[in-house]
């Protein structure tokens, strides 16, 4: 198993773990080694299970309107609304940059 550095690794961003530090790397290695245990089980010829609902039948609903019309209740949940619209910031709020992250995570093992 080998590792290589991206300047912007999606997994890194999502995990909020800094792969550049020795500690971050060790944490990652530990996690992968932990997951390696899965290889102990022989799964040849077996379909992977992706849901605990594998024996259940998918229920099909009739195409008649029974829901909806709770605009008032839902709009109450939003901090800001304008004429029955939910109001949101103009774009996605970006994840904290690396510098900000390290100050946020300074108390954690990572």
């Amino acid at each position: 198993m080998f590792f290589f550095f991206y300047t912007d690794c999606p997994l890194e961003r999502l995990a909020l773990v800094d792969f550049r530090t020795k500690q971050g790397l060790e944490c990652l290695e530990k996690a992968i080694r932990f997951a390696d245990q899965l290889h102990v089980v022989d799964t040849t010829g077996i379909e992977p299970m992706d849901s605990v609902l594998e024996d259940r039948a998918l229920y099909l609903r009739e195409d008649t309107a029974v829901d909806g019309g709770c605009a008032e209740e839902l709009l109450k949940l939003s901090r800001k609304t304008v004429e029955e619209y939910f109001v949101v910031p103009p774009g996605n709020i970006p994840l904290p940059k690396k510098e900000e992250r390290s100050s946020m995570l300074k108390h954690s093992e990572l």
């Binding site: 992706d50 594998e54 998918l58 008649t64 019309g69 109001v87």
Partner: protein
């Protein structure tokens, strides 16, 4: 010598399913409803809500798959595609990435060739897959106040159709989408309106055969078939210019397109995971394969849907050719234009003329006028009125050129019958032999040189004499009769 550049166009189509309720919730689907008025707790992604699959959407996907010659997967799965955007409150979209409901289909389409406009070219494109998925809500950007307004009404069911990048030009893409539109409308699974119900994204590239694909441009949210063809054509031209090192002129890009280098194709954000709240979707081949004791409302049977398939556009065209003996090119036009086929068939019921003689009036005269004014078939001239005009022409009451004139006038006056116009404008052919005789005599008497030439064998001069007679009668003389008399 530089090799010929070849275009590569791949289309991705999102078709809104024509159903009463949404894909995963019982909220109604309605056009132009007040914002957020059709939203349930599930649509707003409140914690604790679960998806409930709409049976009608499954049937629609199967029907569409069958019409496009797909293999229907008896077992298909739902996945979550994660990405963050305010109009997707759950943070993921439920879609079918691993194993969609239909795969490996074919869409055959035709279009009129560039060089020879009357020649039809038949092509086909492979459909990689058809998958069921949720639509996101709608965002309205308010740049002035630096905010976005979200309406979650739109989260309806979609069929995503992925086509293989086998098309070469905007023309082919437009023809393919038109055919798809006709098929979906015939099936009733999608109303096919391109300003929202049928969304097309195109990936456009240009390369020399054998060389790798270079710049690829993506065009999204094209809202008409004509713009689709134009946008692709423009982009191909620009890519070609850039790749050849020529400067790209300053042109306003009217379309929402962006250039994406090939390598960065995969979105960095979105990743997939099986939808844990939905078991596999099972559809059954036929009644025989239904498990005992199953509730019929829970079983989608492919054979039953196959039996219920309506007449598809391709079949319609063949039927018109068989029934009326018209050319494939004509039947293509009839089926392609909304309402034109019905107009033609109504017309054929009221007229005695041969279909081949009538078709020209419908596909050239009528359609030409409609296109000029961007109107639909239901207006100005009813089939009955046109039938009357054709009768007048056939029985020799008016000449062919007069008929065209009358047609124009019928169009303009909106409601006058052919006979009315003929009388008002005195366009009827003159058959009175005596009258014609005297006019011919006058012409002959006043042009002795020409008469001499004709007597000596110069036939062309005869036409000139006929022309003179026509002038006298203001074009109303029956040309055949005139010729006879002069001779």
């Amino acid at each position: 010598a530089s090799q010929q550049l070849v275009g590569v166009v791949g289309l991705e189509v999102h078709a809104q399913i024509n159903s009463n309720t949404k894909l995963f919730s019982g909220s109604p689907v309605r056009f132009s409803a007040p914002p957020n008025s059709l939203v349930s707790f599930f649509d707003a992604s409140l914690p604790g809500t679960l998806p409930m699959l709409n049976r009608r959407c499954v049937e629609a996907a199967v029907m569409t798959g069958l019409a496009l010659n797909c293999t229907i997967n008896k077992k298909s799965y739902f996945d979550r595609k994660h990405y963050f955007y305010a109009d997707l409150p759950a943070g993921y979209q439920i879609t079918q990435q691993r194993k969609p409901i239909a795969v490996d289909g074919v869409l055959t389409y035709s279009y009129f060739g560039e060089k020879k406009r009357s020649q039809m070219i038949r092509k086909s494109v492979q459909i990689k897959q058809i998958q069921l998925e949720q639509d996101s809500g709608k965002s309205l950007h308010d740049d002035d106040r630096s905010q976005t307004l979200i309406d979650l009404n739109r989260a309806v069911g979609l069929m995503e159709l992925v086509m293989e990048p086998e098309m070469k030009s905007g023309e082919e893409a437009a023809a393919a989408i038109r055919e798809l539109q006709l098929i979906l409308q015939a099936l009733g699974t999608c109303q096919g309106n391109m300003s929202g119900q049928l969304r097309v994204d195109a990936n456009v590239s240009v390369h020399r055969p054998g060389e790798p694909l270079g710049i690829r441009t993506e065009v999204k949210n094209i809202n008409s078939i004509r713009y689709l063809a134009r946008a692709i054509y423009e982009i191909q031209r620009q890519i070609d210019a850039v790749q050849s090192g020529r400067a790209v002129q300053n042109e306003t890009r009217a379309y929402d397109s962006k250039s994406v280098p090939m390598r960065e194709k995969e979105g960095l954000q979105d990743y997939f995971m099986p939808e844990p709240n939905l078991p596999a979707l099972i559809v059954y081949e036929d009644n025989a394969s239904l498990p005992t004791g199953i509730d019929p409302s829970q079983a989608v049977v492919v054979q039953k849907i196959k039996d219920r398939l309506p007449e598809l556009p391709g079949v319609k065209r063949d039927r018109l050719v068989q029934t009326y003996g018209i050319l494939p090119e004509h039947s293509f036009t009839l089926v392609n234009e909304d309402g034109l086929m019905e107009y033609f068939e109504t017309l054929m019921k009221t007229t005695q003329r041969e279909p081949r003689k009538v078709i020209g009036w419908v596909t050239n005269e009528l359609l030409g006028h409609l296109k000029q004014r961007d109107m639909s078939v239901s207006q100005p001239i009813s089939p009955a009125h046109l039938a009357e005009l054709l009768k007048l022409q056939e029985t020799g009451r008016i000449s062919s050129s007069a008929a065209k004139q009358v047609f124009q006038e019928m169009w303009r006056s909106g409601g006058k019958t052919a006979w009315q116009i003929v009388q008002e404008q005195e366009l009827g052919l003159v058959h009175d032999s005596a009258q014609l005789h005297s006019i011919c005599q006058k012409v002959v008497d006043s042009h002795p040189d020409e008469v001499h030439a004709v007597r000596n064998g110069n036939k062309k001069v005869l036409n000139k004499l006929i022309g003179l007679v026509q002038k006298e009668t203001k074009g109303r003389a029956d040309p055949v009769l005139v010729k006879e008399i002069l001779q």
